[in-house]
């Protein structure tokens, strides 16, 4: 999956979970401060990402997903690891 597609899929997940329009979700938008994401929604986003990309996000990485940019980076890393595993 290309980086652009990864980003688009993640935007769509975040939009579904937060209710914010896709347009409002920019690379540096902070989930917690700007998108009213709370702990349960953070978990929901993580579960949705795992399901969409068929990857496993480690618990210790969950707090690192606070912006779209970070989420895309993490997913790309995990996808690369999966491909080379």
């Amino acid at each position: 999956m290309s980086t652009n597609n990864v980003e688009q899929e993640i935007i769509s997940i975040i939009s579904d979970v937060s209710g914010f329009d896709e347009e409002e979700i920019k690379p540096d938008t902070n989930f917690f401060q700007d998108l009213e994401i709370d702990s349960i929604k953070a978990i929901e986003i993580t579960v949705a990402i795992e399901k969409k990309f068929k990857i496993q996000v480690r618990d210790k990485d969950v707090p690192n997903i606070t912006t779209l940019k970070q989420a895309v980076e993490l997913v790309n890393t995990l996808l690369t690891q999966k491909a080379t595993a």
């Binding site: 997940i13 209710g19 914010f20 349960i40 978990i43 929901e44 993580t46 579960v47 399901k51 969950v62």
Partner: protein, 484 residues
């Protein structure tokens, strides 16, 4: 005939009216009612269809032989200044319709060796635990500190933890761990090794540390007040109206068929009832993605309850705290208790919760139980009532002489009144692997369909479903606003 057309004052007007409903909500439990109120208040045209003849789901009351009993839920939490239930009740003007009291302590745990309470003053609660377990004094403080100052990130990180992982991090004494896990078992129907740490922590913050609230007049008054607000915001509530089918065209929900085959079109369908029913009966297996169907068939529901209702005579003058949830813990293995509950029979009763009403006229008590089947309960309900009453003498020694009415709800009764699968008390079992599955909030394979309430894998009890109802409504309101 005079027709009054009421135009509710508080409705916002960014939604254009049409004949079609904007949203149909299946089920008038607390989840559905809260969601409906917010949508209607925002100006949407909303219908709630409820199969029962009264609103509330598990939050209802009924009258028998002059006694009023709460059917299932019997108190609530999350009503502190910045609590979710307080926010919602203020937004929806419920606080103007119902007087809310609070019992102090909200919960008392009694074991053969200890009695500890959850007081409205947290310091007092901490003190109770520290006095009982002086060697764990600092750990008690740290544990409660963690709960009341939750770190969003840390909570999210705990997603795959069980409550056992959390409690083992703080404590050593197995009796203390059992005491702290017992109300989690009672309010979540899973033992510490199985229940999600996230949900366990929420039960502490939303049920125990900030619990014990009660609407004067009984739990039904809460549901009635929500129904009143809903109607005042322009919503339509149809009681005795079971939804039979959700209509889907091109993978998009288009409305519902209710009892007599009548079709009601709507833009969104929000199911606030049992999730298996939603997918298997209302949508139909053909409409459901195969992978999801496989998952659904492996999902585990929470256990059910056997609820005992006792009506007491005028001479009943208990020494125990009235209005408090009194939890009796006869031994310290919650894991064994869970196994017994999962294979419940009339000879393996041990732990329970009992609550004496504030007017001392009635008692509600319950135990977790597996669903069993209808025949089992027909044959054993009365026997279980008798052995349960005998067990209650551990807490209220001379209870039998004041009982003038007794009845019980079995899992089958709970199912019959609410259609919750297997009479499940709390929706899906709150295990880490069943937590926060997005397909149980907004299934990816059907557009326009949302789920809310305690089957949406994100929360349970009145605070949990209040949050979910509020949150689901906000998702839709935001979505509609951005479209304009």
């Amino acid at each position: 005939m005079v027709l009054f057309i009421v135009i509710p004052a508080c409705r916002e007007s960014f939604f254009k009216k049409s004949d079609m409903d904007d949203a149909i909500i299946i089920g008038a439990g607390i989840g559905g009612l809260v969601c409906g109120c917010y949508l209607a208040k925002a100006g949407m045209k909303v219908l709630i269809a409820e199969q029962h003849y009264k609103p509330g789901g598990y939050c209802t009351s009924f009258k028998r032989n002059g006694f009023i009993f709460d059917a299932a839920a019997h108190s609530f939490g999350g009503y502190r200044e910045d609590g979710i239930v307080r926010k919602v009740f203020e937004d929806l003007e419920i606080d103007k319709r119902v007087e809310i009291t609070r019992f102090d302590p909200s919960d008392i745990i009694i074991t053969p060796d200890y009695k500890v309470s959850f007081w409205t003053d947290l310091d007092e609660t901490i003190n109770d635990f520290q006095t009982a377990f002086p060697e764990e004094s600092n750990n008690v403080k740290n544990f409660f500190n963690f709960l009341i100052n939750p770190d969003t990130m840390f909570l999210a990180r705990m997603r795959s933890w069980t409550f056992k992982n959390l409690i083992d991090k703080y404590f050593r004494n197995y009796k203390l761990k059992a005491i702290l896990s017992f109300p989690i078992f009672g309010n979540g129907a899973l033992p510490p090794s199985k229940i999600s740490a996230f949900i366990g922590a929420k039960i502490f913050t939303e049920f125990l540390i900030d619990g014990g609230y009660y609407p004067v007049g009984g739990m039904q008054t809460l549901s009635n007040a929500l129904a009143e607000s809903f109607k005042e915001y322009g919503g339509e509530l149809q009681l005795s109206s079971p939804v039979k089918k959700i209509k889907v065209i091109n993978k998009e929900a288009k409305g519902v068929f209710i009892k007599n085959g009548e079709f009601i079109a709507s833009k969104y369908v929000i199911s606030s009832c049992d999730a298996r029913q939603t997918f298997i009966n209302l949508l139909g297996k053909k409409m459901v993605d195969q992978d999801f169907l496989n998952k659904l068939n492996h999902m585990i529901p929470s256990l059910s309850m056997f609820v005992l209702y006792l009506g007491m005579d005028k001479n009943f003058n208990p020494k125990q705290n009235i209005g408090s949830n009194i939890w009796y813990l006869p031994h310290y293995s919650i894991e064994k208790m869970y196994l017994a509950a999962a294979n419940r029979n009339i000879n393996n009763l041990s732990e329970y919760m009992v609550r004496i009403s504030s007017d001392k006229k009635s008692i509600l008590a319950f135990i977790n139980t597996s669903c069993r089947n209808k025949i089992y309960w027909i044959n054993n309900k009365n026997k279980l009532i008798e052995s349960f009453i005998t067990k209650l003498t551990q807490i209220i020694p001379d209870i039998s002489k004041n009982i003038i009415f007794k009845d019980a709800a079995t899992p089958y009764t709970l199912y019959r009144y609410t259609l919750n699968y297997r009479g499940a008390a709390y929706g899906w079992a709150s295990t880490p692997s069943q937590l926060a599955d997005p397909d149980f909030r907004k299934p990816s394979f059907i557009q326009g369909l949302y789920l809310t309430g305690h089957w949406s894998t994100q929360g349970l009890g009145i605070p949990g479903v209040t949050y979910l109802g509020y949150n689901t409504a906000n998702l839709l309101i935001k979505k509609e606003k951005t479209k304009k």
